[in-house]
């Protein structure tokens, strides 16, 4: 207040800006965001390291970070890790592809035509609420304990959700886009392929990205219960031998894999739908 009149507004702005560095919806610098995020990871890592180093917990319940790292490194060098990874990656790829290949056309169909919606949506909505876990025994009965059963569980876990979400993506296509197609004299089939699908595609991609995240969970579930290979299988076996370091290493690895696939899908989204503001 006492300074020259010229600098007073500047000071006031600075003060106002400082006051606005937190609060609902107030943006923060990217560097600051990253710093906080990294700090949380580092903090948790340190806590883990300290808890095990100071022997607050027994290694059998929580092994040290170093023990987990060496165990994973050992499994990587003797090839076990890669075999597990390959088996799981194969299962999730096929299971997810089957679910998506069916859910996209069905979702588009029931999002576009009311009678198809009436025929399919209530049924799917019903099945969606049946717990996937409860299908595991049935899936083993139907498909044994091989890869087919893994596909089946991934399918049950993702397909029904995908169908409903894709239906929603399609319904979000602006009505005037369809009106445009009709005023151009396009038949329904062309309106569907040239307007509705391209318009819903960014949303559908997002649905796939989200459901791929869930697919990891269903994969591991299926492998935990009945399998002879895969990441989930290794976790079950390790429990038998009290190899907690393998279990924790694999859980961290699964988290990392989920994160990576999500980031890859997001990156692809930017490439594929670059020009699109998503909605206008």
């Amino acid at each position: 207040m006492s300074g020259p009149a010229r600098s007073a507004p500047g000071a006031a702005t600075k003060q106002a800006r400082r006051r606005r560095s937190s609060g609902i919806g107030v943006p923060i610098a990217r560097s600051r965001f990253l710093m906080i995020a990294v700090a949380v990871f580092v903090g948790l890592g340190l806590a883990w390291w300290a808890a095990t180093g100071l022997e607050w917990v027994k290694p059998i319940f929580l092994p040290s970070p170093a023990s987990v790292a060496t165990q994973i490194a050992k499994l990587a060098t003797d090839g076990t890790l890669w075999l597990d990874l390959r088996a799981s990656a194969y299962r999730i790829s096929i299971g997810f592809l089957i679910a998506s290949a069916l859910s996209i056309p069905i979702g588009v169909l029931i999002g576009s035509f009311r009678s198809w919606e009436a025929g399919i949506e209530p049924l799917v909505d019903f099945i969606r609420y049946m717990p996937v876990v409860a299908f595991v025994p049935l899936s083993i009965l139907w498909a044994g304990t091989g890869d087919t059963q893994k596909f089946l569980i991934i399918f049950i876990g993702t397909f029904f959700q995908q169908v409903l979400m894709i239906m929603d993506n399609v319904k979000r296509v602006p009505a005037d886009f369809i009106g445009l197609g009709r005023t151009l004299g396009l038949p329904d089939r062309k309106i569907l392929t040239r307007i509705v699908v391209p318009s819903a595609l960014p949303g559908i991609w997002d649905t796939l990205r989200i459901s791929l995240g869930w697919a990891w969970t269903w994969l591991v579930l299926a492998e935990l219960v009945a399998a002879t290979s895969g990441l989930g299988y290794r976790i079950t076996v390790s429990q038998r031998y009290f190899q907690t370091n393998t279990i924790i290493g694999y859980i961290l690895l699964l988290g990392l894999l989920g994160l990576i696939t999500d980031q890859v899908m997001k990156a692809l989204e930017k490439v594929l739908f670059r020009q699109d503001g998503h909605s206008q």
């Binding site: 602006p174 005037d176 009106g179 445009l180 005023t183 151009l184 739908f273 020009q275 699109d276 206008q280």
Partner: protein, 260 residues
């Protein structure tokens, strides 16, 4: 007697069924002459958009006759170009591709599509932005592309539903000038919906005032203002008188009979 470009005769339209059935349009009679620019004005909810979309063939109607050049309107078609209020540019296509999309639907070959699209972008003064995506265009630019698209395949008439309604005042003025200029040069039958009376007077040959409850035509004004019209015409007494007259008519027309 010549056949009008567009004939709307005894048109009725209701929404809903049973107890909730309400009549939105009652006994609409309106003829548009060849190359006539007609505006529909009226309070919101009086059925302007409904009428336009019936003419576009996007909605059905209960009773009446609709024809273009004497041929009944049964469905949407390329003989009527439509410009919607929302920017209906497909976001995954560039400005030029959006126009080519319509031309392709109209059956033009590749080379012709490109040439005609560029020609029409030039018409709306957007040649520089041919390869930009809608997300990179302002609202006014998007609507210019939409107009170019609707004109590109040479429809017999143009239907526009508050095309400038979402634009700021200054952009709206530019668009009105551009549209008048294009129209005066190329001439086309236009049915134009707006709630902006100044816009209606500036653009039209004739203004149709609609009333509410149910929507019907209350009054018609001929706009005998000389063309070509430039912005200055809005300051003339004749223009302002007419504007006042239309305003008054809308006010009177929007008093619902049951409220009077």
């Amino acid at each position: 007697m010549t056949v009008p470009k567009l004939r709307i005769a005894g048109l009725d339209k209701s929404f809903g069924t049973g107890e909730r059935r309400t009549q939105v349009l009652r006994d609409i009679n309106l003829d548009l002459a060849d190359n006539e620019f007609v505006s529909l004005v009226g309070t919101s909810g009086c059925g302007k958009s409904t009428l336009l979309s019936i003419v576009a063939g996007l909605q059905d109607f209960d009773a009446g006759d609709l024809s273009i050049d004497g041929a009944p309107i049964l469905q949407p078609g390329l003989d009527r170009g439509v410009v919607f209020q929302s920017y209906t540019l497909l976001p995954w296509l560039t400005a030029r591709q959006n126009i080519e999309f319509a031309l392709k639907a109209a059956g033009y070959d590749r080379a012709a599509c490109r040439e005609i699209a560029l020609e029409h972008l030039d018409l709306v003064k957007l040649s520089q932005s041919a390869d930009r995506y809608p997300s990179e265009l302002s609202g006014g630019m998007k609507q210019r592309v939409a107009i170019a698209r609707a004109l590109s395949y040479r429809p017999k008439m143009l239907l526009m539903d508050e095309p400038f309604g979402a634009l700021d005042a200054l952009t709206r003025h530019h668009m009105q000038e551009l549209l008048t200029q294009i129209w005066e040069e190329h001439r086309l039958t236009v049915l134009f919906v707006t709630h902006d009376v100044e816009e209606a007077v500036y653009l039209s040959d004739r203004i149709v005032v609609m009333g509410i409850g149910p929507g019907r035509i209350m009054q018609t004004f001929n706009v005998d203002i000389e063309r070509p019209r430039r912005e200055e015409v809005m300051e003339t007494p004749a223009f302002m008188d007419l504007q006042r007259g239309v305003h008054k008519a809308i006010r009177e027309a929007s008093r619902r009979p049951e409220m009077a």
